[in-house]
Symmetry: C2
Subunit: 145 residues, 2 copies
């Protein structure tokens, strides 16, 4: 299986885009984490390697990385977009703690099945889906009393 870097390189070439140093740097910091980071988080991380990089460049790089199929946007309703891995990671949903912000990843093939059933019934062609459950996590429940 191709490495993420190779996937990006190929995507760039196939679309007449250039393999800039910045794009690779952004991809590198993105690959190093399994967290759900904002553009600003990633910006701060890339700056450690390349202090001259611009914030707009990180925005642009993440869009390309998404288009290449390596990342996916995730929105937890806190005001900024976040990114998570898409390549070599299976599709999942999120439990989001309203108290501490923790995000728990969950999978459910049964729900996927029911989603298919739903879209078929409405003759709707699904492209992507998202499910989030907001509430209180195990840890915060214990602390809360």
């Amino acid at each position: 299986m191709k490495s993420a870097k190779t996937v990006l390189r190929q995507y760039l070439k196939n679309n007449g885009l250039l393999a800039s140093k910045q794009r690779e740097q952004v991809l590198n910091v993105f690959l190093k984490t399994e967290k759900h980071l904002t553009v600003d988080d990633l910006y701060e991380l890339v700056r450690k390697k390349n202090p001259r990089i611009g914030l707009a460049t990180v925005y642009r790089a993440m869009r390309v990385i998404c288009d290449a199929g390596l990342a996916r946007e995730a929105d937890f309703g806190d005001g900024s977009k976040r990114f998570e891995h898409k390549y070599k990671h299976q599709h999942h949903h999120h439990l989001v703690c309203l108290k501490c912000g923790r995000v728990i990843e969950v999978m459910s093939p049964e729900i996927e099945k029911l989603q298919q059933k739903l879209t078929k019934k409405h003759n709707f062609t699904p492209v992507r889906d998202t499910m989030k459950i907001f509430g209180t996590c195990r840890k915060c429940k214990r602390k809360g009393e």
Copy 2:
């Protein structure tokens, strides 16, 4: 069953808030539609009745209306919050057409069950949840070729 207006009035009284003319006007236009409207949509509608109302007032009114349990926020990823009915309307999910923007409301008690199972397994206390499937709707599929 109490009317939405009564629910709002009671919520206001119970919380030391005033029943202003503007809050009732915003509630009225919100109640008249079953669509998913933005604050700006609602602003334009209220202006027909009260051209002197301010945009910030509509923002503030919709927050109160949500807090009172009459409306719920819905985000379809197009840059602005939307609002939908919560009172006298059962919980549902959305199919969002990426071509025409149409939003189809769907219900699935089976999915709700599986969600419960998921949260229980993680000892997570759910407060609210949202599921959206993005794709191409029936009509756009036909037109598309």
